[in-house]
Amino acid sequence: MKKERLIGIGMMAFGAIMCFLTSQITIPGWASAGDIGSRFFPYFASVGLILCGLGVLLSAKKAAPSEPFMNKEGVKRIALLLLVLIVYIALMSVVGFLIASPILLYVVVTMLAGEKNPKPLPKIIFSVVTTGVIYILFVHVLSIVLPTGMLF
């Protein structure tokens, strides 16, 4: 019940913040008279969010005890995976797609496999081949550019 109340309050708070940010929107000088302006719709949605948050707050009932969404260990795992993904983006900007991606695949496959712990060689082959296939498909077949990084 407490969590539900907090969620309701959180929604209302977010709606209030959006209202404030909406008031900060600069309207260009050529806005016409018969138009409601570009602040109306964000206000409309923000107020709606506040009302919904109120609804969540007021209708918060004691819920049956259920499994927690995620335990502490899960949060740590997620944080680690997110870190890997963000490092990958940074890596791509430095060394480019072709080098960063096999590394990403190897790391992610190892992380996702968990206890199964496959041998290194199949993972290396998978990482390199998959990167290659995707590279050829996107760059040569579909003419879509992929990051080349600062070194190339």
């Binding site: 919904c52 969540v56 997110l82 996702l112 990167t131």
Partner: protein
């Protein structure tokens, strides 16, 4: 229409359809993946294609995805997509009794009937709906969109306030960037990458794919059950059995068609509703759940009939009936094509490519599934970590390809975290997506309606159709809030 047909029977188009069908079936069959995810992953690929080719491919994936869900439902008792939940009830027991092939056969035929016939009907009905639609103005469209989003929320399980809140969040997300009409720069905080709004590809990939990978990893959900000892050979269903189930097939078909047509509801609802109806009207309700042919037909015919049903408002009004429809709409937007009732007038070839593409894809799916039946169990043996590792990489490629900026990849990851947060607080994703996809249109309709009326909101309420839609929306909210209490009062009065 003939131009569309000529386009589709070219070898390249056939290859696209086969590829799309296979991909859709694979994604639909593996629990954790879906046809919608496949469409999302391939959206960036469609940038460099022509609009006709893009639609051909994506429609094929859509068809394959809805059809494929019954495969894992039958083989491992887990629905591949929400549209095949009711299929599990009878297909899995039938498979366990040793009649796997029969169960698969019924699923394949049911899926085909649903898709093919519903699409035929859609082809003929859409033009009339579109003509009706042209009589509507921005007031009616605004109210219709509001009504659609409200219905999505009120008709689904879960906290209505959280659902509506999610819709509001979606609307706010859609306001980022330059505003319609006067071009005010909203919520971009000086970041030039956000000035054109939150990128749709980053949104879809982040909220669905990345979020799923992260969540599964955090919850350690990975293993797919062992299917190595299932053998598949031969066909399995007799014509007699099909004819015996004909009444169920027909009723389920029309239920699926109608539910698919209504905004906000689609295959996920129709399969369960049709199954419940078939069971309650059957002379042998006790057979349902033990592995009876009618049960599988009810579920699979209706969920595929929803495809045709959903295409009607998608084409005629530009309003998607479900998530996959929203993705098809995004694909059109990415190609620079405006959706809405003028689509049929401005781009008739494209529309018929969609319809005939679905028809042909249904046929191709039928053939692929009959001849590919023995490989189905192998699909489910792909190790999770390789599969989702590849999916992760494809997400990044897709996000980058959309805007040629690594910022978009970062945005995608952030939206993935956002999706996780929404799941944690219990706000469902569908209303967020609907609010985001429709938000731009809704605001435009609101502003146009206001200025066409000379600067007043009155006409939103005085025009009959607009008023009706708004009343339906309000009524559905009130019913959600007080309906159960009213029903309880009536029950007490009876007692």
């Amino acid at each position: 229409m003939s131009a569309a047909f000529m386009h589709l029977i070219q070898p390249f188009s056939i290859v696209l359809m086969i590829f799309g069908d296979v991909l859709g079936i694979i994604f639909g069959a593996i629990p954790g993946l879906s046809g919608g995810l496949a469409i999302t992953l391939l959206l960036p690929l469609t940038f460099t294609m022509s609009a006709n080719d893009a639609i051909t491919l994506l429609a094929a994936i859509y068809v394959g995805g809805v059809s494929g869900g019954f495969i894992s439902a039958t083989l491992i008792g887990i629905p591949g997509t929400p549209g095949s939940v009711a299929t599990v009830f009878d297909a899995y027991p039938m498979s366990q009794k040793g009649e796997t092939v029969k169960a698969l056969g019924v699923g394949i035929i049911g899926s085909f009937i649903g898709t093919f016939l519903s699409c035929l009907i859609a082809m003929f009905v859409t033009q009339y709906v579109a003509r009706l639609a042209l009589m509507l103005g921005p007031w009616e469209y605004f109210s219709l969109c509001i009504c659609a989003i409200t219905l999505v929320v009120t008709l689904s399980n879960g906290n209505m306030f959280k659902g509506l809140g999610g819709a509001c969040i979606g609307l706010l997300l859609s306001t980022v960037g330059f505003a319609p009409v006067d071009g005010a720069n909203r919520f971009s905080f000086g970041n030039i990458n956000l000035s054109s709004g939150i990128n749709m590809v980053a949104m879809m990939l982040g909220l669905f794919a990345v979020c799923q990978v992260i969540t599964n990893y955090g919850k350690k959900q990975q293993a797919l059950p062992d299917v190595s000892n299932i053998k598949v050979s031969g066909f399995g269903v007799s014509i007699k059995e099909i004819l015996e189930s004909m009444k169920t097939i027909v009723i389920s078909f029309f239920m699926g068609l109608w539910i698919g047509f209504l905004p906000g509801m689609g295959a996920a609802l129709s399969n369960v509703a049709a199954y419940a109806q078939a069971k309650s009207s059957s002379k042998h309700p006790e057979k349902f759940g033990t592995g009876c042919v009618e049960g599988i037909f009810a579920s699979e015919v209706s969920n595929n009939a929803s495809i045709g049903g959903a295409i009607i408002p998608l084409v005629a009004l530009g309003i998607p009936g479900d998530g996959a429809g929203a993705l098809l709409l995004s694909a059109l937007l990415l190609q620079g094509i405006e959706s809405g009732p003028m689509l049929l007038v401005n781009q008739p070839t494209l529309v018929y490519v969609l319809f005939i593409g679905i028809l042909l894809s249904a046929v191709i799916t039928l053939l692929l599934q009959f001849f590919g039946m023995r490989w189905f169990p192998k699909l489910l043996m792909i190790p999770y970590h390789y599969l989702f590792g590849a999916v992760t990489l494809i997400c990044f490629v897709g996000a980058f390809a959309a805007t040629n900026t690594l910022f978009n990849c970062l945005l995608m990851v952030i939206l993935g975290i956002f999706g996780l947060l929404m799941a944690y607080i219990g706000v469902p994703v569908s209303p967020i997506i609907l609010g985001y996809v429709l938000g731009g249109n809704i605001e435009t309709y609101l502003r146009k309606g206001y200025s066409y009326s000379g600067g007043t909101f009155v006409e939103f309420f005085t025009r009959p159709a607009s008023l009706i839609f708004l009343l339906i929306a309000v009524f559905s909210v009130l019913w959600n809030l007080f309906g159960s209490k009213i029903k309880a009062k009536r029950a007490r009065k009876v007692n």
